[in-house]
């Protein structure tokens, strides 16, 4: 059936996801060759083949750079990109607001307080390299627990209450972080905090990969298992309730899921902006709003996007590293503006 329906064209989901997966795999291999020390693709492939077969690369320098330094970072970019994108899609459905992002519930600003405490005051220093991650995760969970508690005490998790409580609590937590940085008066600490708040994968190690992979896989599995309820919730709480969806329980589930997922991701990557806001919208434009289509496309698309963002952060002004939010903001803002124009076109295009 052919209709003149601008903005309504759909890309078939399965071929799109397959294409994105192939692109992501190729990109991952290529990106292993890119960095402050450019390597050859064939050298990278040699190391990967040797490592995946259980051995080590023939060239120890290549082996160290590819497997120990870059591979965990590339994997983390993929996992964090996928995780933030599905968290954003889930959050936009939970609060029914296209401007919602994964950090709406105060996760990142809470994590910021935890990270700042670690960097500035040396809290948790007994945990060594894990201090920052645990500090951030703790801060994130405390912040979302507060937002959750306040929302529930005031009558339940409704979109407006979540948005307002989240925004207000984020502002309060940011103030605490700012005070701590100001109080420390240590320029190096200030720089570390700023770098962390803007997001980076530069500290990625193999040990961080597994927990993040588990968190993102679980989240994808749960959300895909609830896909038709998410569709109903996106249409409105009354519609969802009249279609037999237990709205209050679903909202609490989504809140807890997103909080833990984003808490884990923020703990290893800091606050990477724009990915969780823009990628779900791009996915919806390509495949429509049904969650069983949006979630896989957003996950793979977000992984691919953040992979290249991280490459740009590594190589743009090497040997310096750029915080990831700087890159996602520079890329994300024009993309989002284009998208707004396109959505406007979609909304006004129907009446002709």
């Amino acid at each position: 059936m052919s209709h003149n329906r601008p903005g309504g064209r759909r890309v078939p989901v399965t071929p799109l996801v397959a294409t994105l997966v192939v692109l992501t795999l190729v990109s991952a291999v290529v990106s292993l060759a890119l960095g402050s020390e450019p390597l050859t693709i064939s050298g990278v492939v040699d190391v990967l083949q040797a490592r995946l077969a259980g051995g080590r690369g023939a060239d120890p320098t290549y082996d160290t750079i590819v497997w120990e330094l870059r591979a965990p970072r590339v994997l983390m970019a993929l996992v964090v990109g996928a995780g933030l994108s599905i968290a954003g899609a889930c959050m936009q459905t939970l609060v029914r607001n296209p401007l919602a992002d994964p950090y709406l519930l105060g996760v990142s600003s809470g994590a910021g307080v935890g990270a700042t405490l670690v960097i500035v005051l040396g809290v948790l220093s007994g945990l060594g390299v894990w201090a920052l991650s645990f500090g951030a995760l703790g801060g994130a969970l405390v912040a979302t627990a507060l937002v959750f508690g306040i929302s529930m005490a005031q009558g339940g998790i409704t979109p407006l209450r979540l948005v307002l409580t989240g925004v207000v609590m984020s502002a309060a937590f940011s103030s605490v972080s700012s005070f701590l940085v100001f109080y420390s008066a240590d320029p190096r600490a200030t720089q570390s905090v700023l770098f962390w708040l803007l997001g980076s994968l530069s500290g990625s190690v193999w040990a961080q990969v597994l927990p993040s992979v588990i968190a993102v896989s679980l989240a994808v599995a749960v959300l895909m298992a609830l896909h038709s309820w998410l569709d109903a919730l996106a249409a409105g709480p009354e519609v969802a309730a009249s279609l037999g969806v237990p709205v209050a329980a679903l909202r609490i589930t989504l809140f807890v899921l997103v909080s833990v997922l984003v808490g884990v991701l923020v703990a290893v990557s800091g606050g990477i902006g724009f990915v969780g806001l823009v990628v779900p919208h791009l996915a919806r434009i390509l495949v429509g709003a049904r969650h069983r289509c949006v979630l896989p496309v957003a996950a793979v698309g977000g992984a691919l996007f953040l992979l290249w963002v991280d490459v740009a952060a590594r190589v743009a002004v090497r040997p310096q590293e750029i915080p990831l939010s700087v890159v996602t903001g520079l890329v994300g803002a024009p993309v989002f503006l284009l998208l707004l124009g396109r959505r406007h076109y979609t909304y006004s295009g129907g009446e002709g």
Binding site: R5, G8, H227, E238, T346, G350
Partner: protein, 266 residues
Amino acid sequence: MSHLSSRGLAAAVGGHTIVSGVDLDVPRGSMFALVGRNGSGKSTLVRALVGLRPPAAGSVAIDGVDLRTLTPRQRATRVAYVPQEDGPPEDLLVGEMVAMGRIPHRQPWAVDAKGESPLVMEALELVGMADKVDRPCQHLSGGERRRVLLARGIAQGADLLVLDEPTNHLDVHHQIQLLETLRALGCTVIAAVHDLQLAAAHFDAVAVLHAGAVHAVGRPADVLTPATVHDVFDVPATQLTDPATGRVHLVLGPGAPVPAPRKVPA
């Protein structure tokens, strides 16, 4: 046994009781209208009747089963609710929107079962929107959107349909067509309606809400009398009966001191 009945039902919004002491009995297969002025609590009562809000007092039963004893999914297979308006336009096609009506019939992880698309097409044909199954919902007019929402309610497959202002935003052709579609479905229909003439001519029974209670309930000819219309709406009215069809028609005005509150969104 009545298909839907309520006893001592009270419905509240934000702790304020809007209507109370509502005793209704809606026979299976009948069409039942709720009328009343703006703010009389029609929409609030509708939400309580379908279990979207727990009653502040009293109870609602479908086929004698108290709504509160049903799980949300069990409830959704027995009663379908068609709201006045959905949220903002979404990137859903008409067919996808209507297919959401099948959600209560499958697990949340299941994808559309094979038998669903005929049901969706059938519902769309009933509302005259089958040719627009591939249209994005945001390209529909207000009236088309209303008919798609009705199709979603029909696709839900419940034999009790509860509608909030189903004829709003519809031109007179589509108003009549929609009411005749509802009649042809053979379901039990409960609808909040603003248009007294439609309520009089197309429904088997009418309940008039006024001052937080059911002011009158019964057959349209017995309820929508000049006295009641004047008491509740403050509008002079004349009741006529079509000798050919036996349907009751209301003539409102002329010279009404207050215009009839028609077509004003509640």
